[in-house]
């Protein structure tokens, strides 16, 4: 279970392999059961099911870069292995925590978009949770900067909104 997998080099596996093609043109070999976790790949494979040889199929994923895919693939692979066993939720949570703990804010954004596009909802939920956690109790200014949001209120409008709930602005964490 603890064996860390490097997605590109383990070709000895007897599992059927599928090739995914990233937005930047790189081809990545993955086990079929992992590929099936990605909605667009699943749809593509179903549409091309008459193709006899899976090895020959190349699934284009034009919205995800190779860098992001190579983070996602080992995660999904291990997560599949974990959920196949009758393990406690606690173990899955610990695994998710370990995966997300060291993600930079940039990476978090990229992964969220990828998980959303690929329909990996369990990962999307974990990432949204982490994002919520990172902005929880921060100032409005911090939230704007963190999420790249333009303030489109006039100073008067903003002051009025703040005056409606001054108590919500107490106890803000240091940025």
């Amino acid at each position: 279970m603890a064996s860390s997998s490097s997605s590109s080099s383990c070709s000895s596996s007897s599992e059927k392999k599928i090739t995914l093609k990233s937005s930047d043109g790189e081809a990545l070999n993955v086990e079929k059961n992992v590929a099936l976790e990605f909605e667009p790949a699943k749809g593509f494979l179903e549409d091309n099911s008459e193709e006899a040889d899976d090895e020959a199929i190349v699934v284009p994923l034009p919205n995800v870069s190779a860098a992001v895919l190579s983070e996602l693939i080992p995660y999904v692979k291990q997560r599949l292995e974990l959920s196949a066993k009758p393990v406690q939720k606690k173990l899955i949570k610990a695994f998710d925590d370990q995966f997300t703990r060291h993600l930079s804010d940039d990476k978090l954004g990229e992964l969220m978009l990828a998980a959303n596009y690929l329909g990996v909802n369990y990962l999307l939920d974990v990432l949204c949770d982490v994002t919520a956690d990172r902005i929880k109790n921060k100032s409005v200014e911090y939230v704007r900067e963190f999420l790249g949001i333009q303030n489109d209120f006039t100073p008067e409008e903003e002051a009025e909104l703040r005056a409606q709930c001054p108590w919500a602005f107490e106890g803000v964490d240091q940025d």
Binding site: M112, V140, L147, G148, N151, D152, E170, G171
Partner: protein, 421 residues
Amino acid sequence: MRKLNAEMGCLPSEIKFNILSRLPVRMLCRCKSVSKDWLQIISDPYFLKLHQEQSKRNKQLLLLNQGLGDDEDDTRPQFVHFLATSLEKEVHFGLGGFICGYVYMIPSGHDLICLINRGHFHIFSPSFIKGIRLPQAKLSNCLEMDAGFGYIPSQNEYKLVHMFDVNPNPFAYSIKCEILTLTDGATIGADAWKEIKQECPFKVSGWGVLANNKFYWIVSVVCTPCEEKSIVSLDLETETFDFIPHPHYVSYLEGNDMFLVELKGQLCFIDTFAYPPVTDIWVLVDPVRKIWVKEHRIDLTMLQGFDDEQTQVLIHGYENGELVISSQQKSLEFYDTRRKIFRKGEDLNLLWHTGICLYTESFFSLGIVDSGFLRQLTTTLLRLQRTSVVGDVYTAEQIAPDLDFESILFQTTATFQGQCL
């Protein structure tokens, strides 16, 4: 701080909804001033529904420690400390200050929590960290406070029921009943308590539990109830009282520890035997035909630190397939009903007398905002929120190291001279 690039700036709205639905109400109120887009999302009925569902899956805890321990009759000033935390011990806020007399805490099964102090009812919203004092309830000729508090999801209303004895004869009783309804954002008038016509046939013990639009109480032992009439119910629609029997006649033994609780919308009767040490959970599966079914039997000897004489098991809720249980240990226990095993929660440093309430974050607004006592506690303790440890006893200096504690104490004293809490 690292700046988030364009990736985050152009998140599709379903991701924005997903992230925001995980934030606490207080943070969302702050986030309304992030941008027009966010203001619109946070006011969107669909979003509010999503937030509600998310909050229900992620219950929070309000803990209450008081200097008097469990001495309910002591009316001296005591230090009272509230702490809101997640089940995983992520601290949200703490509040503390001096209050005269014991504070009772009644959960609603939803967001709001009812506090009773020296005969006065208060409602506290942990989501908004706001509290209000309710209009004066009727005086009772008996010393105990008898009440019930609950939430009706279909109407988005809270109901508070107060029972009071109008019979001046100490050896007899005539129990009248008044009900107060809390609706979202509505102001509470001085005439908010509505007395109902029918009298409650028996004295009750413990707080009433609301399930399927009825409140239920266990009949007090002073009334020597028969088994068929050991639980009294109050139908909120018809405002009439009725009885339901004890679930299992044989188990109706003296020395058993019994209480009612609402789990998954159903009334449950929790019956703990002294020997063998087991807790039975009976569910009122058919409230009309009054049919109980025993759904679970918990072997208490599996509980870490179980002590035949000392352990008292309290069930606070049912979350994600697990019963949330307190047993006078420093942490809560979670009982997996399917696999029949206990899981120890985070060390919350609970004391044996710590009051424990589960609550669900919500946007239910209390209308009038009390600028008095609870606000005072809020400003004092918000500064502490990150440093406070659950269950610790604070001295005045520790509470407000950089605040003029004298003035806070003075204001607090002035507040409770008039109204206490």
